[in-house]
């Protein structure tokens, strides 16, 4: 299954939820969610298609809104002959700055726990329903704002 | 046994002076061999002495919430026990410096005194980590003591006496028994390794979990005495094993006079050094076992072998009697 075949399959599976989708030249797929509320639904459909490996969650402060990127990986099948290589795909959710909240994935995807805590630490996006929302990377008594928000950036 | 020879035995020859130097030499040999097995260079010959003197110079603190009397007395009791044990073990001839019927039991008790002093010292030092370490020391003590006694009693049963000197005389007179005692010798080696809390049986002071277990709070003179006790225990244990299972001064036991004594000492040194070398290699090739695995090894493997050994000795005894 080449990346473009996977893209067509996912396009029609997730058509209701997507705002846009593109395929980068190096075989990387990207799907932009229309509304961050359907994140859970999109991830569960991915899991039904066998894509369960969440690589990581990246938060980017894009000026007036925060983009949260969920990078997934579909395993390559080495053993049963079909040497289809693994494909990397990203689901991008847009979170407005005035209401920085997003639903947690930990109940369908326990692997997301640490990445969501890092997102909370660094970008200040509150992940609702997270089982263990303490600080992961910052000191407990660190009272400066989320370090990677544009206003806190110390770009000397 | 007039006063002069008594003091000579106690303080000079099989007593303190000889044991002090031989213990440090044994520690040097052990550490050097362990290092060479790992392709490392290893310490210079006087390193153990340097460590001992350095520790003597260091401050010997007493923790606030420790019970001072017991904490201070612990190191001495262990060392005293082990030093006196040496007097009952034959060195240069088949009879030891002192001997009486039943001195084997006394020696076995004196040899386990350091473990108790370690326990009391660690428990009353008031440090949580050493208390966990001491409970492990005691659990391990229950593990190795029983097989060690079984192994030690095998030659006693064969010789029909509990006097160390006459046991050595018996083994010396019919050396074939040494082959019969081979399993007991292996149990003795493993139990000595466990008594000294060396790999693979060093769970009580496992560096990667408890950071030096019972001795965590000890420093200065007291720590120096504890380390010396352990070295002397190694030497005395090796001496006991060589006396019981390798027939003490076996080939030269019967030669009289000064030459016999000199040869006896040479044979004693050779055998004990060989035992220390075997324990050192053993330390180099095995990984550390968890505390319940140590007990598992001793109870599930060594106790049955010990009982079997006693059975074999009895059978051999009957067989010899039966034929007579």
């Amino acid at each position: 299954m080449t990346p473009s075949q996977l893209k067509r399959k996912l396009d029609d599976e997730l058509s209701a939820l997507l705002a846009a989708s593109e395929e980068h030249d190096c075989g990387r797929l990207e799907f932009v969610l229309a509304d961050r509320g359907d994140l859970l639904e999109a991830v569960t459909t991915l899991q039904e298609l066998g894509i369960t490996h969440l690589i990581t969650i990246t938060g980017v402060d894009a000026g007036d809104e925060i983009e949260v990127l969920y990078h997934f990986l579909r395993y390559g099948e080495y053993d049963d002959g079909d040497l289809g290589e693994g494909v990397e795909l990203t689901i991008r959710a847009i979170v407005p700055k005035d209401d920085p909240k997003i639903a947690t994935l930990t109940d369908v995807l326990p692997g997301a726990t640490l990445y969501e805590r890092e997102l909370m630490d660094m970008l200040g996006v509150e992940v609702t329903g997270h089982p263990n929302p303490e600080k992961l990377l910052l000191a407990d008594d660190f009272d400066g704002g989320p370090p990677l928000r544009a206003e806190n950036l110390e770009v000397s | 046994m007039d006063l002069a020879t008594g003091i000579l035995y106690l303080l000079v020859f099989p007593g303190f002076a000889f044991l002090f130097t031989y213990a440090l030499a044994a520690e040097y040999l052990d550490r050097k061999l362990y290092a060479r097995v790992q392709n490392r260079v290893g310490p210079p010959p006087l390193q153990p002495l340097a460590d001992f003197l350095k520790l003597l110079a260091k401050e010997s603190a007493v923790p606030e919430n420790a019970t001072a009397r017991i904490y201070k007395a612990a190191p001495l009791t262990g060392l005293a026990g082990v030093l006196t044990a040496m007097l009952y073990i034959p060195v240069w001839s088949e009879t030891a410096a002192m001997s009486f019927e039943g001195d084997l039991v006394v020696v076995l008790f004196l040899l386990s005194l350091p473990s108790f002093s370690l326990f009391f010292g660690g428990w009353y030092s008031g440090n949580v980590f050493s208390q966990v370490g001491t409970t492990r020391t005691i659990t391990q003590l229950f593990g190795y003591e029983i097989p060690f006694f079984l192994a030690a009693f095998a030659p006693a049963v064969a010789a029909g006496t509990l006097e160390l000197s006459s046991i050595v005389a018996f083994v010396g007179s019919n050396p074939l028994h040494m082959l019969v005692f081979a399993p007991a010798f292996v149990i003795g080696l493993l139990s000595l390794q466990a008594k000294l809390e060396r790999i693979p049986f060093d769970a009580p002071e496992a560096e990667s979990e408890l950071a030096t277990g019972a001795l965590a709070e000890y420093s200065g003179r007291k720590l120096a005495l504890f380390r010396l006790t352990k070295d002397v225990e190694l030497v005395v244990g090796a001496a006991l094993l060589s006396a019981l299972f390798l027939g003490g001064p076996y080939p030269v036991g019967s030669i009289e006079g000064v030459a016999g004594a000199a040869l006896g000492i040479a044979v004693f040194l050779a055998k004990t050094i060989a035992i220390v070398a075997v324990l050192s290699i053993l330390r180099g090739v095995l990984a550390r076992l968890r505390i319940e695995q140590v007990l598992n090894v001793f109870y599930r493997w060594l106790v049955p072998i010990g009982l079997l050994q006693i059975g074999i000795v009895l059978a051999v005894g009957l067989y010899a009697e039966g034929l007579l």
Partner: protein, 119 residues
């Protein structure tokens, strides 16, 4: 449940081997030719362009050109991380990575090197 002690033959063989370590500082290992130690600077070819300062990630080099056409090139070995980028970025090969790695010292000034020359 095999008998423990698989390593005994290797352990006994190792007894015979000679040491694997070098007793530094009595005798020292010969460094490979490409070893990157402290920076060695030669003022003559230097044009004072400052590419080394710009590409130095550790800000260990500062190049200042004085009013009367003199250029001063300062290098702080305490900040340098020996990556060798200055050697590569220097258009006139004025900077070469030396082989000196024993750089510990007690006073801070000894870490700074300063060259001032006419340009």
């Amino acid at each position: 449940m095999s008998l423990p002690g698989k390593l005994v033959p290797e352990a006994l063989k190792t007894l015979g081997k000679d040491r694997a370590t070098v007793s530094y500082p009595k005798n020292k290992r010969t460094l490979p030719e490409r070893f990157r130690g402290a920076v060695e600077f030669d003022p003559d070819p230097c044009t004072g362009c400052g590419m080394c300062e710009r590409h130095c990630a550790a800000d260990a080099i500062t190049v200042t050109s004085g009013p009367d056409g003199t250029v001063s090139w300062e290098y702080d070995v305490a900040r340098c991380m020996f990556c060798g980028q200055c050697e590569e970025s220097c258009p006139t090969d004025a900077i070469v990575m030396g082989q000196e790695f024993e750089l510990a010292d007690s006073d801070r000034e000894s870490f700074e090197e300063r060259y001032t020359f006419e340009r």
